[in-house]
């Protein structure tokens, strides 16, 4: 590559980096300007900023008690649900023998509260009877005569869609049901083997449903998204997509093949959530692949919230919010202030140390650390806005350790360049050769760190997840900075007289890197280079050879 080519590509990379930083900062700036919840500083976690403490008490019938096991199970499920809203490091704990305390930073909105406390028991039941939501006894609702299955002889029902489930008692309950009034007690648990008389969640229709055919436990995964038309175009309707496990898929296939030939309303199956029908579609086909889509009255937020609740399973019992209070930070602002102060002092020490070690090159080190800091800052601000990321004190500590790992990339790189200089290359060539070797090391060591981060992020919960997030973020930023800043800067600096002449203060002083010293050993550096260039095998072999030669030379010197 010609000199100007190197310069061009180095400048290009620097421009890319600038564009990257500016575009993230621009997005955040636009978010602040339009008032869509973006802030100029990172949002802080519970330990640094405080937040809201929500006490949940279980809804159980008189005389019933919640077991410690149920409570633990509920804590685990709620934790996963809260984690699914972002990396906020919420704290969830039991209090006394009954209650769960959920502490989250900031003030929760209705969807978050619903996500935390709703039991999210999902059931699939076949529809036996359906009509509009008003009570028949009130009358005059405009609907025709109350439908009824009225089997001539009340026999034992043979399957879940059988009209014989509608006993006179069930019919009476159905007739009396008024969807505009509260008709279920909160936390009510329905017997899955009996029919259910209920309304849809809007109160528009009421149903008699058969026994449960498939329940939420058979759901393998749930996501949200918009529905697509038959031509594949995306519509504006939000839906929850379910995929069943093998058992669920089999049951689902059996149900759809049974319902498909029936007539309305018995060819419909209802999806109920905590006892209310969220949707009751008609069976259009026999579904065998175990995937289902629920549409209802969803928007993006509520469909995501439902998908998250379904994904982590239903709570063993329902809870109600007993109290909701603001809480202060557990760590005073003094902790953050002295942590930051100490961090700044530590950084200054790093700067002083690198000036001693790398002289003029320390400018590149310090510049890279500053760029890494700026990039980290804008990314964190961006993620606090878009992904609910919250910075905790452990997160701050993780960022401080990242200084070491980021600086290591430059150190590995500089040492490699020095090694190449010691082998007698001119600075330009040494920078390129050193970069090639250093990049490999940097990529594989950062690869291991990233692997750690991704694995822990996927598999863990709570503050461990928060830690994994910070680790992954700083590792990616490290790679970006070393590729887009440190290396191009060094390429550009290598062309200046100050560095290429090996000025004593440049950090690449050929004198102190052993050129004169090599003379004493009677090395002919030009010969060594040509030997390297001539080596037709691999670079590695050439390297090994020169090392071996050098070692032999050193041994000779030692024996003299």
């Amino acid at each position: 590559m010609s000199v100007s080519g190197v310069t061009k590509s180095a400048r290009k990379r620097l421009i890319w980096l600038g564009a990257l930083i500016l575009s993230i900062a621009g997005l955040v700036g636009a978010g602040v300007a339009t008032g869509s919840g973006a802030t100029l500083t990172p949002k802080l976690a519970l330990d640094l900023e405080g937040g809201t403490s929500i006490i949940l008490s279980p809804l159980v019938a008189e005389g019933q008690k919640i077991t410690a096991q149920q409570l633990e199970q509920a804590v685990g499920i709620i934790r996963q649900r809260v984690d699914s809203t972002g990396v906020s490091e919420a704290q969830i704990t039991t209090s006394g023998s009954n209650n769960i305390v959920v502490s989250i930073p900031g003030t929760p909105d209705d969807n978050t509260l619903k996500l935390i406390r709703s039991s999210a028991k999902l059931e699939f039941r076949p529809v036996i009877l359906a009509s509009s939501g008003a009570s028949a006894s009130v009358g005059g609702s405009g609907s025709s005569a109350t439908p009824s299955a009225k089997p001539s002889v009340q026999a034992k029902p043979t399957d879940a869609s059988d009209a014989n489930w509608v006993t006179p008692a069930v019919q009476a309950q159905f007739d009396a049901l008024d969807c505009t009034k509260q008709f279920r007690t909160p936390g009510q648990i329905d017997d899955p083997t009996l029919p259910l008389v209920t309304c849809d969640s809007n109160g528009y229709s009421k149903y008699v449903l058969g026994p449960v055919e498939i329940s939420g436990e058979d759901i393998k995964n749930a996501t949200n998204g918009t529905t697509t038309t038959s031509t594949g175009a995306s519509t504006n309707t939000w839906a929850v997509n379910l995929s069943f496990n093998d058992a669920g898929a089999k049951k689902f296939s059996a149900v759809t093949s049974r319902l498909y030939p029936l007539t309305d309303p018995r060819n419909r199956f209802a999806v109920t959530l905590d006892g209310y029908v969220i949707t009751a579609p008609t069976t259009n086909a026999v579904i065998t692949n175990g995937d289902a889509q629920i549409t209802g009255n969803f928007d993006q937020v509520s469909s995501k919230s439902l998908a998250d609740s379904l994904k982590y399973g239903s709570l063993p019992i329902s809870f109600q919010v007993q109290s909701q209070e603001n809480i202060s930070a557990t760590l005073g602002s003094e902790q953050l202030a002295s942590g930051l102060l100490a961090g700044i002092i530590g950084l200054l020490l790093v700067v002083i140390y690198s000036f001693f070690q790398y002289r003029g090159l320390a400018l590149v080190t310090v510049g890279s650390l500053v760029i890494a800091a700026v990039l980290t800052y804008v990314v964190i601000v961006f993620l606090s806005w878009r992904n609910g990321f919250r910075l905790s004190l452990s997160g701050v500590a993780g960022l401080i350790v990242a200084i070491g790992i980021t600086a290591d990339s430059f150190i590995v790189y500089f040492e490699r360049v020095r090694d190449e200089l010691r082998d007698g290359r001119p600075l330009n060539a040494a920078v390129e050769a050193g970069w090639k070797r250093a990049l490999r090391t940097i990529l594989v060591s950062d690869g291991v760190s990233l692997l750690a981060a991704v694995t822990l992020f996927v598999l863990t919960v709570g503050s461990v997840k928060g830690f994994a997030f910070t680790l992954g973020l700083t590792t990616l930023i490290d790679v970006a900075v070393v590729m887009l800043f440190t290396h191009p800067m060094l390429q550009l600096l290598a062309q200046t007289r100050f560095f290429s002449s090996g000025h004593p203060w440049s950090g690449f002083d050929s004198q102190s890197l052993g050129a004169g010293y090599r003379g004493r050993l009677e090395f002919k550096s030009s010969e060594r280079i040509s030997a390297t260039k001539k080596a037709k095998s691999s670079k590695e072999a050439a390297k090994r050879q020169t090392l071996a030669e050098r070692k032999a030379a050193a041994d000779n010197e030692g024996s003299n």
């Binding site: 969830i92 704990t93 500590a397 350790v401 070491g404 102190s512 052993g514 030669e549």
Partner: protein, 323 residues
């Protein structure tokens, strides 16, 4: 500083060489002793690791109708009764304080209640006490351990694929376990309570230790490439040369990594006393030093130990010795 760069030159050329690989027996013995001490001393000195309230749950006091929501008052009040307990103090709403402590006996609990009432100048009846569960529950621990095991397995596979030998993975992971045991051991010997912050510190160390080992192993990979065809040098010598050639980098990196942590530990923690910052920076401080040490003194010599006995390297070494 020119002396340090002379040192670097000499290490690079092999003119000066510290024999890490040859003295490995001494390092194994040192590691053995350190691990044994780490396993025994925490329980001998302090009766094992003291888990914080976040893991075990504890007592909770709620003081309502307070005029001042100062957190300091509560910490001092708790210390007058149980000096060794570090309470978690939170202001709740506009006129309440929540104080969480380790599990207390009935008498202690009553004494803390009285002390809190006195400190905040309220009636004893305005201080309610109850129990609070662990907010770092067994489910978090189980998931974290599961995550770790999977990560270590993945990391071993990744390293084995990249370095084309399982033995590097094995050596790196043995060094990693060495670091974890010793870091936890020193933490336990100092008798500090294990808090979530400390656990996060340990996890960070895990990442750092492995990272540091991979950097040095990459140089070893380069130096030992096709070494079995060399007539001048042996596998063990090349491993040792790699450690020496990366020694300046290892020293520089660990100093740069440890400086900010040390600043937090010694400046931050002396200003503030016990707390999250001290726990996490202590775990990191020990871990970074141990992690750098173990790469040089354990992982690399161990790797050489595992491989130099392979037939092709024994044969090559015999040839070198004969020439």
């Amino acid at each position: 500083m020119s002396k340090f760069s002379d040192f670097g030159n000499a290490l690079y050329s092999g003119e000066r060489s510290i024999n890490f690989v040859g003295r490995r027996k001494i390092f194994y013995i040192i590691a053995g002793i350190m691990i044994a001490l780490s396993a025994v001393l925490p329980s001998a000195l302090h009766g094992g690791f003291k888990l914080g309230i976040e893991f075990r749950g504890g007592a909770e006091f709620r003081i309502s109708g307070v005029a001042s929501q100062s957190q300091r008052l509560a910490i001092d009040a708790v210390h007058t009764v149980v000096p060794k307990v570090e309470p978690l103090v939170t202001a709740v709403g506009t006129d309440s304080i929540r104080v969480q402590t380790d599990k207390l006996g009935d008498l202690e609990s009553e004494a803390v209640r009285q002390a809190l009432a006195k400190a905040y100048k309220v009636e004893a009846s305005a201080v309610a006490s109850s129990f609070v569960g662990a907010n770092w529950g067994a489910d978090i621990t189980a998931k974290a351990i599961n995550g770790l095991v999977v990560f270590i397995a993945f990391a071993a596979i990744l390293m084995a694929l990249y370095f084309r030998t399982l033995k590097m993975s094995l050596a790196a992971i043995i060094a990693l376990l060495h670091d974890l045991v010793i870091t936890a051991g020193i933490y336990g010997i100092l008798g500090f309570e294990v808090t979530p912050a400390a656990v996060i510190g340990f996890l960070t160390i895990l990442g750092y230790s492995l990272y540091d080992t991979v950097v040095v192993f990459d140089k070893i990979r380069e130096n030992t490439f096709e070494v079995e065809f060399s007539e001048k040098t042996t596998f063990a010598k090349q491993v040792n040369l790699a450690i020496n050639q990366t020694l300046v980098r290892s020293i520089n990196t660990s100093i740069v990594a440890v400086l900010p942590v040390a600043a937090i530990l010694f400046i931050g923690a002396t200003l503030l006393g016990a707390g999250t910052l001290r726990d996490i920076s202590l775990a990191l401080f020990i871990g970074i030093l141990v992690g750098t040490y173990s790469t040089i003194f354990i992982a690399a010599p161990l790797y050489s130990h595992m491989r130099e006995g392979e037939a092709k390297y024994v044969k090559a070494a015999a040839k070198v010795a004969a020439s």
